[in-house]
């Protein structure tokens, strides 16, 4: 798959806006989301985080217009989500693959192309774009989890939309396929709004520009990822020759570890370590600040 910095997939789209105002939603009268409000206009990846049961899937279903809010409203480009013109601006990928039984991969794409009013040329283009042509004549039951996910995601590229709601698109995938899918999503996000739910905090930091954290159905945090700091900053250094004594650091496995007051201390410490003869192989933040959003 291609470089995330190459041209955006599908070309530019009209500016989009996704807005939630005081949305309360759930299932059959029970409330899962409570008074959710936000407004998104900037094309980027917005990572939706939260522990199991926090309401991530319910949020996506509500934004996609599948669940009707019990209170409040969802608007796309200023229009209520129940209008066809608003709904037509977004794509939704659920946590299950959605590949119909009894259809080969190509036929499944043709099925969705028909629903989306896309043409045969779009199906052919997507088969190549997502590199699924080689298994397009197989049934979903004959595919690996990664192939199934890729075939499922292929639907998203049949037709151009300005907002993408992706519910755990890399769950249960091997690292290689997960990386390929993240690359695709990064390309999408150059011109589009992508909401992306994940349990993988490192993945969230890798591709997300914003994080929207849910806790017990409410927004616990909505901010740029770089603004989120852990309550403590722990630096870890891995050396090529771990024989050097580094004052203030303790050893934890392969790492020399030290708690700092913040990332601004890192350059000075690295300089000091190198002056002591340390050959640094890796320097990393040992605690992911996003982890605290799960507590």
């Amino acid at each position: 798959m291609t470089d995330p910095n190459s041209e955006p997939l599908g070309g530019p789209t009209a500016a989009a806006e996704l807005a939630c105002r005081d949305v309360t939603a759930g299932y059959l009268g029970s409330q899962v989301l409570r008074e959710i409000s936000f407004r998104i206009t900037e094309p980027a990846v917005y990572v939706v985080l939260g522990p199991n049961g926090a309401g991530k899937t319910t949020l996506f279903r509500t934004l996609a217009g599948i669940l009707q809010p019990q209170a409040g409203e969802v608007r796309i480009g200023g229009e209520p989500i129940d209008r066809a013109s608003a709904r037509d601006r977004l794509h939704y990928l659920s946590h299950v693959d959605g590949l119909p039984d009894g259809l080969r991969v190509r036929e499944a794409l043709e099925f969705y192309a028909r629903v989306e009013r896309a043409g045969p040329a779009d199906v052919e283009r997507v088969l190549d774009q997502l590199e699924i042509r080689s298994f397009s004549d197989q049934f979903p039951s004959q595919l690996s989890a990664g192939q199934r996910k890729r075939a499922s995601i292929a639907r998203l590229f049949l037709r151009e939309r300005s907002i993408y709601l992706l519910d755990e698109p890399t769950a249960n995938l091997d690292p290689k396929v997960a990386r390929e899918i993240r690359t695709l999503i990064l390309r999408l996000s150059q011109e589009r709004i992508v909401l992306y739910s994940s349990h993988n905090l490192f993945e969230a930091r890798e591709i997300g520009r914003y994080v929207l954290a849910l806790k017990a159905g409410r927004i616990a945090l909505f901010d740029r990822i770089e603004n989120i700091r852990a309550s403590r900053f722990v630096l870890g250094l891995r050396l090529l020759e771990p024989t050097v004594a580094l004052p203030g650091f303790r050893r934890e496995g392969d790492y020399y570890v030290r708690e700092l007051s913040g990332p601004e201390e890192v350059p000075g410490l690295l300089r000091d370590a190198m002056e002591r003869g340390a050959k640094i192989r890796e320097a990393r933040e040992m605690e992911n600040p996003l982890e605290e959003l799960f507590v």
Binding site: I66, Q68, V96, G98, P100, D101, F111, G119, D122, L158
Partner: protein
């Protein structure tokens, strides 16, 4: 990429759903068609009179069994998240139900066309008389009741699928609905038996019982379908989280 245009008319899912239902439910379709055709041909060969009085009464049972592919697609689509996608694309639950219902009726048409066509052809070619009671039994009850029972089974199965958590085996909708779907036809058989046993009922009375039974089942179908919008909410069609 193609660009979206919300003003375009909604697409029909019926052809592809019918194809999927024919594949997924091929066992039901082959069984319903095969047994009905075999039975019809055997009855014509052994007793043309019995064919005229019995075959139309049995048609709804095999028609219902043959149409299970539509429900099979619906239950699989719910579990696999296909219904969730279709809802996200703007299709209404009523449209999804109607699509499955029409698919079931199309499958019944296959069962009826083959079984009635083959047996009626043999009946006519072998010199069987085309009487008014035969026509009433076949086209006033057998054929329409096959559609009505199939619709009843499909709607019952959709309600069941939507109102219960996914399960496998005999306790699943696919396991039990064929048995429940033929109940109206079985009840009608019982009713005809009771009326006939009284001894004072003529052919007209029996025909009236059959036509009324058929109309009653069709009315139940229409009522359940009309209520589906209120009773089966969108969240009932979502894949398990």
């Amino acid at each position: 990429m193609a660009t979206a245009s919300p003003s375009e008319p909604p697409v029909s899912l019926l052809p592809v759903t019918l194809r999927r239902a024919s594949v997924s439910g091929r066992f039901f379709l082959v069984y319903g068609t095969g047994v009905a055709t075999f039975l019809g041909l055997v009855l014509v060969v052994t007793s043309r009179t019995t064919y005229g009085t019995t075959f139309p009464l049995l048609l709804p049972i095999f028609g219902t069994v043959g149409s299970m592919g539509g429900l099979l697609v619906f239950t699989n689509d719910r579990t696999k998240g296909v219904l969730e996608y279709l809802l996200a694309y703007g299709l209404s639950p009523q449209r999804l139900f109607t699509n499955v219902l029409l698919t079931g009726l199309a499958l019944v048409s296959i069962v009826l066309t083959v079984s009635v066509g083959a047996s009626a052809a043999l009946y006519t070619l072998s010199g069987g008389p085309v009487t008014a009671p035969l026509l009433v039994a076949m086209f006033g009850y057998g054929v329409p009741m096959a559609y009505a029972c199939s619709g009843f089974a499909a709607i019952l199965g959709m309600y069941w699928t939507a109102l219960s958590s996914p399960r496998q085996g005999m306790s699943s909708p696919i396991g039990l609905v064929p048995l429940l779907g033929i109940l109206p036809a079985m009840a009608t058989l019982g009713l005809v038996g009771v009326v006939a046993a009284r001894g004072d009922a003529g052919p007209t009375t029996l025909a009236l019982v059959l036509v009324c039974a058929c109309a009653a089942v069709a009315l139940v179908d229409a009522t359940l379908l009309a209520l589906s919008g209120r009773l089966l909410r969108r969240e009932r069609l979502l894949s398990p989280a």
